[in-house]
């Protein structure tokens, strides 16, 4: 790698589970290489994090910002806008920032429904007075404030302009390192690209494929698949056919179907549509009604199965828009 002036790197987490941060730390001793080439100017989880320092920086003075987690509060939106302004290259890091991930399934319901379940319906909740968290609460000693939450979970690019995407929940350490190398060597793809391979998990999967002729899809608890044949050929809904390569087919290697955490390949707009057509093509039938029936019977939760990681960013977007949202 070419020795040059040190670049400035920022890492930030919004509505993150912390797994993306763990993934960055898991590049292990290579983190020393990172610090050889970059000054880490902002990384709240691992080093000092002073928002005011970031506010004082000149616009565009951070070379690369890796941003993980979705956007659910005004505060997170503020940070996204701030880091966008201060960064030359803003990377949506991981599935949450890129496409909404599992927490994005919350967009199947709205804030009211979430409150109702969490604070009233759950069986251990004892709430005879029907209390719900409030933006402002009067307590005997004064007032307490809670932030108001958006009704919807947003992906980073629904809030600000994003330069690159790094897929995965979380991205694999090796792929993070590949991306950092690409940045260091100035071998970045065109703006807006996903940094990664453009093949599928199937292409990295060691399982044997012959012909995929399925009459029925099984739930994972209905069969014990053998460890060598393609899981999809055995009737399990393996999302590897529609999922971008990069993990080395980690889940099929422990005999579990891929759940699609690496998202779609270039040129595919909608993960669900892509997976659905891949599944249809392995069904042993030409009759559309039969194909439809086999999919319907085998996949009782199409929204959660086809948009497990991409609901927030998908064409479905959300169940309904709520007008009173902040």
């Amino acid at each position: 790698m070419i020795a040059q002036n040190k670049g400035k790197l920022a890492v930030y987490w919004a509505a993150s589970c912390g797994g993306c941060e763990i993934a960055i730390l898991a590049i292990d001793e290579k983190i020393l290489d990172v610090s050889k080439h970059f000054d880490i100017v902002f990384w709240p989880c691992a080093t000092d994090g002073k928002v005011r320092d970031v506010e004082k920086m000149a616009d565009g003075s951070i070379d690369v910002c890796l941003f993980n987690g979705g956007i659910r509060t005004s505060e997170q939106e503020y940070m996204a806008r701030l880091l966008r302004r201060k960064s030359k290259v803003l990377v949506a890091f991981g599935s949450c920032a890129s496409e909404g991930c599992i927490p994005g399934l919350a967009n199947l319901s709205n804030r009211k429904e979430i409150f109702h379940t969490v604070y009233h319906e759950t069986p251990s909740t004892e709430n005879p007075k029907g209390v719900e968290p409030q933006h402002v609460t009067d307590v005997p000693e004064g007032k307490l404030y809670l932030p108001v939450f958006y009704d919807t979970l947003f992906t980073l690019d629904q809030v600000v302009d994003v330069d690159y995407y790094l897929p995965g929940c979380p991205p694999e350490a090796e792929r993070i390192w590949d991306a950092i190398t690409a940045i260091l060597e100035n071998k970045l793809p065109p703006k807006g690209a996903v940094i990664g391979a453009n093949t599928t998990v199937c292409d990295e999967c060691p399982r044997k494929r012959t012909e995929k002729k399925i009459r029925k899809f099984y739930r994972t608890w209905e069969i014990i698949p053998d460890e060598e044949t393609c899981l999809l050929e055995q009737g399990l809904v393996c999302a590897g056919v529609a999922t971008r390569a990069g993990c080395g087919a980690k889940c099929p290697k422990v005999n579990s179907p891929c759940i699609g955490c690496y998202g779609v390949n270039d040129g595919v707009v909608d993960f669900g549509a892509r997976l659905m057509s891949a599944l249809a093509s392995v069904i042993d039938s030409d009759a559309p009604e039969e194909i439809d029936r086999i999919i319907r019977e085998g996949i009782p939760d199409p929204a959660g199965t086809f948009y497990r990681f991409s609901l927030a960013h998908s064409l479905l977007r959300r169940k309904k828009k709520v007008p009173d949202e902040e």
């Binding site: 509505a15 969490v118 069986p123 909740t125 979380p170 994972t220 422990v254 939760d301």
Partner: protein
Amino acid sequence: MKRVSIDPITRLEGHGKIDIFLDEQGNVANAYLQIPELRGFERFCVGRPVEEMPNLTSRICGVCPEAHHMAASKALDALFHVDPPDTAKKLRELFYSIFFATDHTTHFYALGGPDFVVGPEAPKAERNILGVVQKVGLEIGGKVIKMRHVGHHLIQMMGGRRVHPNWGLPGGISHGITEEQRKEIEAAGREAIEFAKFSLQLFDKLVLQNSEYVDLVTGDVYVHKTYSMGMVDGNNHVNFYDGMIRVVGPDGSEHAKYHPADYREYIAERVEPWSYLKFPYLKKVGWKGFVDGPESGIYRATPLSRLNAADGMATPLAQKEYQRFYEVLGGKPVHHTLATHWARLIELLFATERWVELASDPKITGRDFRVLPKEKPTEGVGCVEAPRGTLTHHYATDERGLVVKANLIVGTTNNNAPICMSVQRAAQKLIRNGELREGLLNKVEMAFRAYDPCFGCATHSLPGQMPLEVRIRDPLGNLLHRLRQNID
């Protein structure tokens, strides 16, 4: 009324906020820990195929996904009325022991330990893993990194992935281990035991041989006489993977011992308008406000309470340490919050011993690690000890196995009320007549950190990194004092 607002992470992550109010004399009237985060898993899990729960709920936390993955898998066993074969149970517990050892190592050396190892009064810049390495030597730093690395490697080898495994199923797991892998796991476990022993010696040398620290641990700033909760095996010994839930009172006598499936008879959760996180308490004792004592249903579920709730440890080395723990601290139960760090190391030793015990079992390479459920899915509860407290997952489904109801009581949530009380008490002891004593921020942070809280998991920040702000205003709202770290 004066307000002191200790604002951890408000600007930075928005995951926690502490408000302390002073009365007219400038003494603490009340303190509130607010959690401004909610993601709604209990709602959006509804409608999903129940077999997805181990994978969906692991996204609650990327620091302890294994705990959610495991609790969910056990809930699936119950819900499908299927008993996993012995090999499956052993593999799950082995995996879980490796996870516990790795997580406790991280906490002691990177998160909570630095307060002790480099000292609570040490400058913030040194109260981190680098400061620890500087104090104890590079060789030890290397050991810590290696321990974590090996732990993650084995977790990935067994569960498929280092973060967010894809492995648990009703009736077992998706994949077993080979004899070669078993040997590797066993060898790593033997080194892990040495590492755990070494960590306890280190704690002994640095903390227990230092009267200043001992005074801090046993002093009255960090005491709360609450109930203690923890999972126990058939001998009332600590277990992380399976068993009954035992609760002992502030005096150590047994309050309850129940099967996880009966949790609703024993635990209730209260809603306060000023926090998104609910406050669990013992239902049979009742909610009496943020107070301790036998009349108040507030309980703790931490490494310390697990030791209190049990009669001993199931492995020989950990049992010796357990006895010594109570000898040194004056008998059972112990209520000194900071002793949680020591308890965590005893659990680390137990986890590594259990790891080797299970990995040396030749049957663990068996191919019978999974059975298919034969009955229709209905309803089930799964419980494990997460590093940060008893974790309960409860789902009910329709006939097709789609979730109709999900309830989660997460490790840290158990400790929501006690953390509030610990913060309040530390503030009460350190703020007198409107005067902030030196070290308040460090010491309030220590009260908080002993629990290793995991609110949406973003509070797993490093010591000294948590942005804290204290503001004291006069009754007209004029700012009198401001103390801050990591904000400006």
